[in-house]
């Protein structure tokens, strides 16, 4: 494909259904032609700007300018629901079959089909920030592109989840790697769960089963089927929580947040292609993420998929396992405030050994943080919990050497295997 042909076909990438061959050709051309790629991205930016935001939710933590770590857990969880709909619906296309199927059964075929998917690729556009945790969503944020690729080979799974110009995670079958270019390079075993709730995107069977469970649990959770000439749309609306949803959300709470998910399947192959996830909070609706095309069973190079930067990696597992038993006991018995004090003192005194476990994700930033806070004092600590965040915010007064004071906060959480507080944001 040359540039002229690309410009003739690029509009097709914005159609309701996208020919796989056309898409593959355009993608291959963009990989070689930065100008055409930039052109497409500009079109996409305008296309995204035209998407209705519909409304923004009210932030639940009012603090200073430093960005919040609202882990919109229900949103992330629901986002994951949709991405699990890798299904073949051909046998359900007849109206009578759909009309007679129990509501929850709409997902059963999907679960079976998902188990047979060998690979998938998709671009998720989510309201978030490039460097924050994958589980972080912000209704007022711009859309950030997140590229996801997953490959199943033999009995192993390999995946790559990458925010454009931001945080990325790769799993090579044994080890997870998470990095923010220039700022963070950490690795850990599978159990490290760097993706948090976002990991559900990679277990579509689980998501479908949870959604089916939600539908079966309460009639207040709805699924509505609509149809056009070329597509079938399942719109899921969930408000009622059941034990599966609670488990998915871990210790977070859904609150009054309703999730509305529009799943569009192409009729000719029955596969989920487009997704829109909206959050309805206090009657106001916000489009939080959308996926414009999902590709299945794509040819994928495992080597490319699991390629990681060539750099020094901090081993998250080693850092915590080095902790002696008596120290571990002390760390486990700390309050969030005590942990925050210890972390901040470590930074101020430039002695990371005082808080090495807590600062495992901030190791690279430590020298810069210490330089910034050199000579400062911290005082007036106050904890605050927010229902949407699994950790704790600890607010404090930072007094600079020149006497100037600032109100700041640090986010800490201890939902890890060892139940010790770890710095999660605010630094």
């Amino acid at each position: 494909m040359n540039c002229k042909e690309f410009k003739e076909k690029v509009a097709d990438l914005f159609d309701t259904t996208i020919d796989m061959h056309t898409q593959a050709e355009c993608k291959a051309h963009m990989a070689e032609c930065p100008e055409c790629k930039a052109y497409y991205e500009e079109l996409l930016e305008a296309f995204n700007a035209l998407q209705p935001q519909e409304a923004s939710a009210t932030p639940s933590v009012s603090t200073p300018a430093r960005k919040q770590h609202h882990l919109w857990r229900p949103i992330a969880a629901a986002a994951v629901f949709l991405l699990g709909f890798f299904i073949g619906w051909s046998h359900l296309f007849s109206t009578s079959a759909v009309a007679e199927a129990p509501r929850g059964q709409l997902f059963e075929q999907g679960i079976k089909s998902v188990q047979n998917v060998g690979s998938f690729q998709m671009a998720v556009y989510a309201r978030t920030t490039p460097n924050d945790n994958f589980a972080y969503f912000a209704p007022k944020a711009d859309f950030v592109r997140i590229d996801i690729g997953l490959l199943r080979q033999n009995d192993s799974v390999f995946y790559r989840v990458e925010k454009q110009n931001g945080r990325a995670i790769v799993f090579d079958g044994q080890t997870q790697y998470m990095w923010i270019p220039g700022a963070l390079y950490v690795k850990g075993p599978c159990a490290a769960n760097f993706l948090e709730h976002f990991v559900n995107l990679l277990s579509p069977e689980r998501l479908l089963a949870m959604q089916k469970s939600a539908i079966d649990f309460s009639k207040k959770n709805e699924v509505v089927r609509t149809e056009s000439d070329s597509t079938i749309t399942l719109t899921f609306k969930g408000t009622e929580k059941n034990s599966d949803l609670q488990q998915l959300l871990e210790t977070g709470k859904m609150g009054d947040c309703e999730v509305e998910v529009e799943n569009v399947f192409t009729k000719n192959d029955g596969l989920l292609r487009f997704v829109k996830l909206r959050v309805v909070n206090h009657g106001q609706k916000t489009l939080l993420l959308h996926i414009d095309n999902i590709q299945y069973n794509v040819m994928m190079s495992r080597a490319s998929l699991i390629q990681i930067p060539d750099t020094q990696w901090t081993d998250a597992a080693e850092t915590t396992s080095r902790t002696a038993d008596d120290r571990l006991g002390m760390l486990q018995n700390e309050t969030a405030t005590q942990a925050a004090q210890r972390i901040l003192q470590a930074i101020i005194s430039a002695d990371s050994s005082q808080a090495s476990e807590a600062l495992v994700y901030c190791e690279r930033m430590f020298p810069a943080l210490s330089e910034k806070m050199k000579g400062c004092r911290v005082s007036d600590f106050k904890e605050r919990r927010d229902g949407d965040y699994i950790g704790t915010y600890v607010f404090y007064t930072l007094t600079h050497p020149d006497g100037r004071q600032e109100q700041k906060h640090i986010a800490v959480r201890n939902d890890n295997e060892r139940h010790i507080w770890i710095a999660d944001g605010g630094l």
Binding site: D12, T16, E45, A46, A49, L50, E54, A55, S228, D229
Partner: protein, 170 residues
């Protein structure tokens, strides 16, 4: 009304119910506010019922596209009667894509302003494609245009919107 008309009325009702969110959204962004959009949708429904009553409904092959075409014509008619073609004063051109929205009406206006940056013929294609959730082929049928023309207008519209967004960000 005979049985054939009854069946077609049922089909019409089903299409309207199914497509109502898309029809409503399209009309909102065309006319600029929800109340006007509701009126237009009501007018479209009455017009379509009239078509069935006089027996010409059986000639319609694709009801979905026909509904959109009817609504599009009604919106055009309303706009020309009220002379409310959308213009945006230069001093009101803020960050078009970045106006923080606190409610639906504000977001509606944000999008209406974005679409006001481009010729109406391009905006109409974009509205039908995005808010009407129509494929390009459907849009071509609704507007009785060749498919390549529809795609060109869509692309040119996005290009101009992107350019306008860049200008207001500097």
């Amino acid at each position: 009304m005979n049985k054939e008309n009854n069946i077609t009325m049922n089909e019409l009702a089903k299409h309207l119910q199914r497509e109502q969110p898309h029809l409503m959204r399209y009309a909102c962004y065309r006319l600029g506010d929800a109340d006007n959009a509701k009126d237009a949708l009501q007018d479209a429904y009455l017009k379509l019922c009239g078509k069935l009553s006089d027996g010409t409904g059986k000639d319609v092959k694709d009801w979905r596209n026909y509904i959109f075409r009817t609504l599009s014509n009604i919106c055009t008619s309303r706009l020309s009667q009220s002379s409310r073609f959308k213009t945006v004063p230069i001093d009101a051109r803020l960050d078009l894509a970045d106006i923080p929205s606190e409610n639906n009406e504000a977001d509606n206006q944000r999008i209406v302003q974005l679409l006001a940056e481009i010729p109406e013929e391009q905006a109409e294609v974009i509205r039908l494609r995005i808010y009407g959730n129509n494929s390009f082929a459907d849009v071509a049928e609704i507007l009785a245009l060749p498919l390549p023309t529809v795609k060109s207008r869509f692309l040119y519209g996005l290009e101009k919107i992107r350019k306008a967004m860049k200008q207001t960000n500097h």
